[in-house]
Structures are given as structure tokens and as C-alpha cells.
Amino acid sequence: MSEQAHAVHAHAAPTGFIRKYIFSLDHKMIGLQYYFLALVAVFVGMFLSLLMRIHLVWPEASLPWFGHIKPEQYLTLLTMHGTIMVFFVLTTAPQSGFGNYFLPIQIGAPDMAFPTLNMLSFWTTFVSFMVMLAAFFVEGGAPLSGWTNYAPLSAIPSAGPGQGLGEDLWIISIALFSVASLMGALNFITTTLDLRARGMSLFRMPLTCWAWFVTAMLGLLAFGVLLAGGILLLLDRNLGTSFFVPGGLNINGNLSFPPGGLNPGGHPITHTGGSPLLWQHLFWFFGHPEVYIAILPGMGVASQLLSTFSRKPIFGYKAMVYAILAIGILGFLVWGHHMFMSGMSPYSAFAFSVMTMAIGVPSAIKTFNWLGTIWGGRVRFHTPMLFAIGFVSLFVSGGLSGPFLAQPVLDIPLHDTYFVVGHFHLIMGVAAIFGIFAATYYWFPKMFGRMMNETLGRIHFFVTLLGTYAVFMPMHYLGMAGHPRRYSQLTELNFLQPLMPLQKFMSIAAFITIAVQFVFVINLFWSMKKGKKAEINPWEATTLEWTVPSPPPHDNFGGVTPVVNHGPYEYSVPGAAKDYTMQTDPATVAAH
């Protein structure tokens, strides 16, 4: 906040390769490191989904190198696809990647509040990712207990292949990831509260900053619980505690005593009295806010872009801020809607149900305010804008299936069917990914000083939008027909035969959608080297990152603290010389 605090950060740029590109303290480099980690992860996750789609419809297919995919390998793919996508893509890119790069610049700070902690949190995430990938290569392979990792399936090493060392590595990786996320969250919150430039009041922050700020608070409260759950699960698995394992389980004809296991007193280890539902509570207390951790930054980006490309102020700025806060708070009160079938009292179910329905209200406010932002605008359809509109479309179509699942009575036919798979892929997966794409196309000129190719961008947008709808909309229908999820051998089940043509259609749509992602990667790397040179402010936007060179220098503002005189979305102000008023423009401009 004070100039003194800023001066502390005004250090010289490092010159050595290692300090500049590897163990960098610069939030921009760390943001890029997170982004490229997520890029690697998304291709790993996508490759796993490709194998899954092949196995589901052509289980006999023999693939080069991989051979024939066995049913239990499908379950491993399913577990690792979900885990890698949720943690290392959806949590990493929108928040840690873009948030790291642009939060300090947008609020006028030279860096994050704790640069060393920032570096530590990236490298902890990196180690976590390596540990997760290592699970593929240990004896028994990667775990198959699903990304939700329900006990006792996850707690008993003999419950399946991959449930030995692979599962331990999974838990360790997630625990490390939680620690990294806690460090990151602390940094984001402190930076937002303490390092804003003069004039950058909270209600002059761009909605992206609000989204990153609320997301960080969700992370701070949620990841601690996941970390605790992971440690308890490790203890249950390796030291014979019984947090999640009830007594007397009989798995594969063996009682759930670890073979020859002795506790430190020399007595045989006996599980007794644990509660499998405790894991579900801990997991979903994290897991539901996690959905918002993935999607809120995308909402911030969509708001930013719809305003910029419509050349109009965001419709109802304060309502948008309160809606983000409401979604964040309510997000912590609804975890039980994942457990309607687990045996809760109907009264608890009603409480969770009404809270979940309530989230529909701020979500509706956001959606309608986005429409209100385009209304009467002067709309430019560049690729970032297309992806922002795509985000709104996916948020609506993925969000509207939420009220179904919020009803305990409709959860009876729909819980654990493909309906749920379709729902969360649209809202949490693809919508958040569209937020990442929108942010990439929008900020690429700032990050690399060059423009991305518009033609390739448009091809990427239209094929991806149609492709993802073709993959995930039919899943709702499969679920309504009663198709359970996480079934590995569809071709052997009579009931599912009539649905197989649809499954094949979805697989083919998935192959096309995956293929077109290479257009994106080619565009990304080609444009870095060969793209058209970008001006400082190619989109004629108002926020602070467009006042500094592309890419921004070390310390962002060259040691000068910017002074903010305007709100974030002053477009087409009547009487102004140009149709956008930068946040740093003199206060008098608007008065003319």
C-alpha cells in the first residue's frame, strides 16, 4: 500500500539463467511456469481421456505401444484423468497462472507480497506433479479409486491393483499440492489487501482481481481440510489407525488386517470403528469449493472481456462483486449435496438442497449482467471475446443441470450416472478451460509482445465449442436413461447396447476436439516467435497492465508507483476523446 512497501520490492532484475527462468522470484515468470505446467498437465489428462474413449467403445482395440486397454487400466485412466485435470489444470492455470501474472500488475504492485513464498509454492506444485506422474511407474501402477478416492476402497491396499504404492503416491502428491495451494492463497490475499496502488480502492479493482481474491480465500479454507484428510488416510493405510476404516471388512476373502501388520506395541493391527463417511465429509468440504476455485477466475475473465470488447462498462459492477462473494460463501455450505445418497437425514438433505438452490441466484445475476453488458454495445468479435461468450454459453448450459442434482429426490435417479459427468464437465471442466483460453488469447500480447493468429484462433474456437457440446450434452441424456458412471465394460452389458451408437458418436467428437487443440498449441508457440508485434494496448482496454510495455519489465512499473483515478470499466464515456478511459488517466478526463 505505502510507497515504502513498494520500494522494498524495487530490486534489480536477475541476470543469471537459473534465477531468471528456474528459481525466479518474479511473479510474471512464476505465473508462466504455472501456465506451462498446466499446459503439460492438460495434454497428459487429455491423452488419458483419449484412451478412455477408445476403451469404452472399442475395448478390443490394440494400440501402438500401449496394446490392449484392460478394464482395470480404464479405471486407472479415469482416476488419473480426473485428478490431473482438477488439480494440475483447473486449479493451476486460471488462479496460479494468470492470477500470479496479472493480479499484481492490475492492482499496481511491483510483485506479489511474498516472492520467495511464491517461488516455493510453484516448486512444491512441481514436485507434487512429479510424484503424481510417478504413480504410473511404480509396482501395481497408478491408483484406481477415483479422483474422489472414497474410503474404504482407497484405504485398503488390497482393494485393487494400484491401491498399494501408487495410492500412497497419489495421497502424498495431493498433500503437497494442498500445501502449495495454501502458500499461494496466503500470498494472493496479502497482495490484494496490502499492495494496491494509490487510488486502487477495492471497488476500483477489475473483476478479475475480485475473482482471484475470493478464489484465494476459498483455497485457504478448503485445502487445509483436504490436507488433513489426506494425512489421516495415509495413517489409516500405513500405521493401522481407523479414521475411515470400520472393523471387520472382508475384502477378497481377507479381513482388512494388513498381512503380518503389527502396531508399535507388537499387537496385530485391527481396524475398528472408523467411518467411511468421514472421508466424504472432509473430501467434499474441500471438493465443492474446489469447483468454484476452478470457475471463479473464469467468471472474472469473462466479465473483463465482455466489457472490453463490447466497449461498455460492465453491467452492475457492484452486483457482480457481491455475486462472487455470495457464491464463495454459499460454496462452503453445500458439500452435503454430494452425499444425498450416503445416508443423511432428510432434514440435513433439505438444508444442503436449499443452500444449493440459493447458489443459482448469484449465478443468474452474473449471467444476466453479462448479457446486460453486451446489450447496446459496440461489439468486436476477436478470438478472446469469442471464448468469453463461449464461457457464458457453457456456464449456462452446465449450470442449469445443477438444480436437478440439488434436489435429493432427483438425485435418486441421477446421482452417479452420466448426467453428473456431463454436468461437471461442462460447468467445471470446459467452462473453466474456455476461461483459460479467453485469458490466453487476451493476455498473450502482454505476456509475449506479439499477437496470436486470429484465423487459427477462430478455427480453434468454433471446433472446440461444437466438439465439447457434442461430447458432453449426450451424457445428460445417457444419465437420464439410467447409465451409471465409472463402468468400464460397456460392450458386455445388454442394457447399454442401445446406447452404444451414442457413445461412439461422443468418442469421435472427442477425437476431433482433441485434434483441434493442437491448432491452439501451434498458434501459441508460432505466435511467440512469429506473431505480429503487439502494441502496448492492442485491445484498447482500461486496466493497468495495458499501461506498461509488453512484456512488462521487472518490477512492472519501472519503480514508479501508478496512481489510479478511474474505475476499471470506463468505456464509451460521453464526451471523452476516446472510447476508453484508462484507470491511470488524469481524473479530469471524464469531466470533459
Partner: protein, 337 residues
């Protein structure tokens, strides 16, 4: 049955007729809003594109408009919630006179036991038009009992009995799925629910069975030596079990609870968890000795004592030393803490 493209599961039990209208209402709301929003986006995109609308209007928001689109979704959300809650509430507890079926789930199989002794695997026969309550427990991981045509689903937990109920309204054969992911052969844990005319059901029931659940339970009661302590005479070293089921039990620490199936199960597996007032904690632990199917039989027997308390014959022979040596599993092992 599913020869054609299945659009929607069959409606074969009482709850389906209540659930489906809400279901279709939500589909209508969803279609209305998605089509409305997509059309609005398209119209705005055409009408306000830069080439035809060169000057953006200065609209920062409108309290009236925002209040409208806050209140209307809130009203719709609450309406849906109240409707859904009312239907869910009507599921309620199983009716008292429901036909009781017991079952255990394991990787990767459903086993059902009828009160008369019929046992079946991956198939469940029930009569049409009669309330049926299925009490289930898992012997390993969490499973979920899912019959789409009945709109019935319930997670089956390894440490607790849970009961799902329905009244089939149409005869036929319907899918039974495991809906909670339970390991490698999860997709193989499927079966059929066969809904029969009551007369056919009686014929089916009579066709097999090795004696009722309670009578199998009585054999186990002797086999495990329970009878040597739990008896009505002066030699008893544990409480008399006649009339226990459904009664309030007082414990040493002053607490009480109703003796339901979960209590009976816990008291057999881990007797020291709750000590009945006035008795010594001498009962051995049966965890690992009694499997879940035997447990259901023992509980059925204990419940039957409510109607027929003299079923316990204190003079009946208890297993002697010879017999215990031949069947070492009979002797419960005391596991040190």
C-alpha cells in the same frame, strides 16, 4: 426390455409417478432459460456488432432490472426446492407392514435373503403392489443399490444397515445396478429385480430355502455358544434377549438407545462399545468371526424372540469341548487392545 433406444427408464414403482413431474418441470425450465439466453446472445451479437452499431450506449446497470432478475430466479429456485422437498419427504420410513428383504453387497455381487429362507444372488424377486423394504449392508467397500425403474437408489455402507423401500406397480424385469464406484469389476455388479404377481411370488418363495432366516439364526446362536450366557434363567451371564429388539436399552454410563438392527450388530461385533447396565463386560469380540450374512440371520433370530420368547431352551446342549476343537472358529478369539 431395452430393445429400442431407451429414452427414459420405465416407471415401475410408486415413487416414479411423483418424481417424474418434477423432473419434467425442471427440464422445461432448463430448456426455456438456455434457449432464451442463447437467443439473446445471438440477437445481441448481430444487432450490436461494431459495423452496424458504431456507438456503445452508456449503461452501467439498473437497480430495477437487476432486482427483477434476482427475485425471479430466487422464486423459481424456492418453488423447485419446496416441490422437491415435499416429494422427498413422502419417501419417508418404510411402512411397518412392508415385506422385509435383507441383503449384503460385496465386491462384486448382490446377495439377498428372504425371511422365509430363499436366497438369491444378483436377482431380487418381489411381489407387485406390495410395499417392500430392503435392508442392506456391505461387507467391504461402499456400494449403491440402484433400480432406475423404481427411482430407488441408496448407498450401501460397510458399517451400518440402511433400508430402502418401494412398492412395485408393474410386473417385469428391471435393472439393478451398483451405482457407487466399488473397484475393478464395478460394472459387473449388476443384476435384475423381478416383479411378480403375488401368487407367482408365493410359488417362487415356496420353491426353495433351507429354513427361515430366524431358524438359521437360532442354529448360529447355539453354534457360537451365545446361548450359554444369554438365557432367561439364573445361570445367565448376559442379558436375556427376548423382547430386546425395539426396546430402550440402558447402559452403564447412563446413556440409552433403542435396540435396532445397527445396535444388535455393533453389540455382537464389538460388545465393549456399549455395556448394558447391570452386566459385566465379559462378552468376547466377534469381529472377524461372524460374516454379514450370518449376522443378518442372528439378528432375525433375536427379533423373532419378541414373538416367541420361549424359543431359547436353557436346557439345550451347548457345544462341548470336543466340538469346539473340531470347529476352532467357534471359539471367539479375544483380540488384545
Amino acid at each position: 426390455m431395452w430393445t429400442d433406444f431407451p429414452l427414459f427408464p420405465a416407471r415401475a414403482a410408486n415413487f416414479a409417478d411423483k418424481v417424474d413431474p418434477l423432473y419434467f418441470f425442471l427440464v422445461a425450465v432448463t430448456v426455456f432459460f438456455s434457449v432464451g439466453i442463447f437467443l439473446t446472445i445471438t440477437v445481441f451479437a448481430i444487432k450490436y456488432r461494431r459495423s452496424v452499431h458504431p456507438q456503445a450506449e452508456q449503461i452501467k446497470g439498473s437497480l430495477a432490472v437487476e432486482a427483477t432478475w434476482t427475485i425471479i430466479p430466487l422464486g423459481i429456485a424456492l418453488f423447485i426446492f419446496v416441490w422437491g422437498a415435499a416429494v422427498y419427504y413422502s419417501y419417508g420410513a418404510p411402512p411397518k407392514n412392508a415385506l422385509r428383504v435383507y441383503g449384503t453387497a460385496k465386491q462384486w455381487m448382490w446377495k439377498f435373503q428372504h425371511a422365509d429362507g430363499q436366497r438369491e444372488i444378483n436377482e431380487l424377486h418381489v411381489p407387485v403392489g406390495q410395499d417392500v423394504a430392503v435392508t442392506l449392508i456391505s461387507q467391504d467397500v461402499i456400494h449403491s443399490f440402484f433400480v432406475p425403474a423404481f427411482r430407488a437408489k441408496m448407498d450401501v455402507l460397510p458399517n451400518r444397515y440402511r433400508t430402502v423401500w418401494f412398492r412395485p406397480t408393474r410386473t417385469g424385469t428391471y435393472h439393478l445396478f451398483c451405482a457407487e464406484y466399488c473397484g475393478t469389476a464395478h460394472s459387473g455388479m449388476i443384476g435384475w429385480v423381478v416383479v411378480m404377481e403375488p401368487a407367482d411370488y408365493e410359488v417362487w418363495l415356496a420353491a426353495g430355502g433351507e429354513g427361515s432366516l430366524a431358524s438359521s439364526g437360532e442354529k448360529l446362536f447355539r453354534h457360537f455358544g451365545c446361548i450359554s450366557c444369554h438365557r432367561a434363567d439364573k445361570g445367565a451371564r448376559g442379558p436375556d434377549l427376548a423382547g430386546l429388539y425395539g426396546r430402550e436399552v440402558h447402559f452403564q454410563d447412563g446413556s440409552t438407545r433403542i435396540a435396532d438392527e445397527n445396535y444388535l450388530r455393533e453389540s455382537i461385533l464389538a460388545p465393549k462399545a456399549k455395556i448394558v447396565a447391570g452386566w459385566q463386560p465379559i462378552m468376547p469380540v466377534f469381529q472377524g468371526q461372524v460374516n454379514e450374512e450370518q449376522m443378518l440371520e442372528l439378528i432375525a433370530y433375536i427379533k423373532s424372540l419378541n414373538q416367541n420368547p420361549l424359543n431359547v431352551n436353557p436346557n439345550a446342549p451347548v457345544p462341548d469341548e470336543e466340538q469346539r476343537k473340531r470347529n476352532p472358529q467357534v471359539e471367539p478369539q479375544v483380540i488384545r487392545p
